[in-house]
């Protein structure tokens, strides 16, 4: 079983595929669940406090907007933890979206330079492409066993 970060990191479809193949998906929903379930924090809806963008300084400098650093405080540790990566490019917000294009660029860069096994695919736009897409992901995930 391998810890696989998916990109976009909010994609539930990709997370589901990783899980079905017996691996552990690293996704934002898991990180947000931890935040929301943490007792004694009162910063709804996500329970992110001004301390989180400061934690994001590990991944982006202080002159990077706070929203990016706040997002990276969740995505960054997942990249650190990841043993493999499944990256899907050119999807619209329906595939999963952090809401910020700059965060997406930084996350993709950090995944790329980490040097872990990874597959990078274009989001399919036709039925034939979709079948090929699923097949390629399946093959990649099986290879991680």
């Amino acid at each position: 079983m391998v810890k696989v970060i998916v990109f976009p990191p909010t994609s539930t479809i990709l997370a589901d595929m990783v899980e079905r193949m017996g691996h552990t998906p690293l996704v934002m929903s898991g990180e947000i669940r931890k935040k929301v379930n943490t007792p004694s924090l009162e910063s709804p809806p996500l329970n992110i406090t001004p301390e989180d963008p400061k934690k994001g300084l590990r991944y982006a400098a202080v002159d990077v907007p706070s929203g990016i650093r706040g997002r990276m405080s969740m995505i960054g540790p997942m990249i650190d933890e990841a043993e493999a990566a499944l990256v899907v490019k050119d999807g619209n917000c329906l595939v999963g979206c952090t809401g910020c294009a700059r965060t997406n660029e930084l996350a993709r860069l950090l995944i790329k330079v980490k040097g872990i096994p990874q597959i990078e695919l274009k989001y399919p736009t036709s039925d034939a492409e979709a079948r090929r897409f699923v097949h390629d992901i399946r093959t990649f995930l099986e290879g991680l066993r």
Partner: protein, 408 residues
């Protein structure tokens, strides 16, 4: 309950959403998020005009579209994005323009960092709520009866006495102890007006010390300076009908307000550093060995192009000041360069966030430093009006507005 529609990107992830909500709650408002259909977000370009790579900004634009189509959904709009995000800044400006040109909803724009607190936002939110809630009072054009206004500012405290639409007394003192300064300014105004305090029918307060002073003098109106100053400005400049732009460069912060029929439509309140405030001009006057009241006249004789000065930060601004003097620059040129530098920052940082429409009215004590409105005129390419009593703008606005509460 006033409903403020929040159109934003990054507020939750910056950890400041709770602060935004606290600021709204403190002024009796509630933040709401207009619902949109998925198609509104996916097709934002066809309705709004642009689409950007960041999903949350597309969502903000879709919400803006929904608001102008259904203006009853909210009473006011708060548009905010992360500080230093270029994409966010472009969308923030476009959303403000879009709402302005398609509705009468008041709009506040802001860029936050993780250090933004509810206290920082309080005056801005208060002004937004006042604009939405008290349109009737703000539309008032005449002062009636005998009223006083006190503007408890960060640097100076001003007071005026008004009787039947005329200013009959003024008082102006440096702010030291807030209450003592307010008493002294009011006393000076009463003496000049030849009026006793107990004869006053109502007192209005504004400025940083408005609540403390208001409680002390039993004021009927305690109001933030954005709505009050814009009212005072259009009253004194005789521009109560139609569009106007009010620029107030204060001792601690600056305000740029876009006004329509005497009511603020959009505004920014800022001052990243004291280098863009009246403090820097005070410091310049001291370094040049002239009184602050003489700095403006001195500046009019100089040329800013002869001195390199960037007062984005007051420390570096002072360094430029010292360097230029040590290189033998003329005091006149240094004085004008200081005025130009302050005006340039307000122009670059704040006037880009509001609709600049004529007449442009400069108010506050700094507007009397003649070099400053002159520098602003040069930057805007538009004439700048400095009305009589410009330094008493807040006190005049408070005296005018409080008279509206005394009727009926």
């Amino acid at each position: 309950m006033i409903r403020i529609a929040q159109l934003s990107c990054g507020a939750e992830y910056s950890g400041v959403q709770r602060e935004l909500e606290k600021a709204a709650e403190a002024v009796g408002a509630r933040l709401i998020f207009p619902e949109v259909a998925l198609d509104d977000v996916l097709n934002v370009e066809s309705r709004f005009g642009i689409e950007v790579p960041s999903g949350d900004l597309n969502l903000a634009m879709a919400r803006a579209t929904r608001l102008v189509e259904n203006p009853d959904l909210a009473d006011a709009v708060f548009v905010c994005t992360c500080f230093r995000c270029a994409e966010g800044a472009i969308v923030r400006g476009e959303v403000r323009r879009f709402i302005h040109s398609h509705s009468r909803l008041p709009v506040l724009t802001y860029s936050f960092t993780e250090r933004t607190t509810s206290d920082t936002l309080l005056t801005r939110m208060e002004a937004l709520v006042t604009t939405a809630k008290m349109k009737g009072l703000l539309a008032r054009e005449k002062q009636t009866g005998l009223t006083a206004g006190i503007d408890s500012g960060s640097t100076t405290t001003k007071a005026v006495i008004m009787r039947d639409n005329e200013i009959i007394g003024t008082g102006w003192v440096p702010t030291t102890e807030v209450l003592k300064s307010a008493d002294a300014a009011l006393e000076a105004a009463l003496t000049e007006a030849k009026v006793k305090r107990e004869e006053l029918e109502g007192i209005g307060t504004t400025g940083y010390g408005r609540f403390l002073v208001g409680k002390h003098v039993n004021a009927r109106l305690m109001q933030e300076e954005i709505t009050v100053n814009s009212k005072g400005a259009v009253f004194l400049a005789d521009a109560q009908r139609g569009a106007a732009t009010v620029i107030d460069i204060g001792g601690m912060d600056n305000k740029a307000i876009s006004v329509q029929d005497g009511i603020p439509g959009g505004f920014t309140m800022g001052g990243i550093c004291a280098g863009a405030s009246g403090r820097f001009l005070e410091l310049t006057a001291r370094r040049l060995g002239v009184n602050i009241t003489e700095l403006g006249k001195l500046a009019l004789k100089g040329f800013h192009e002869n001195v390199t000065m960037n007062s984005y930060c007051i420390v570096f601004g002072t360094q430029s000041l010292v360097n230029s003097l040590s290189k033998g620059s003329r005091p006149e040129d240094v004085a004008m360069a200081a005025c130009h530098s302050v005006a340039e920052q307000v122009f670059e940082q704040q006037l880009q966030e509001v609709e600049v429409k004529q007449p442009v009215i400069m108010v506050g004590g700094t507007s009397l430093i003649e070099g400053l409105p002159k520098a602003m005129e040069n930057l805007l390419g538009l004439p700048v009006i400095v009305p009589r009593y410009a330094q008493y703008i807040g006190a005049v606005g408070a005296a005018l507005l409080v008279s509206g509460l005394l009727e009926g």
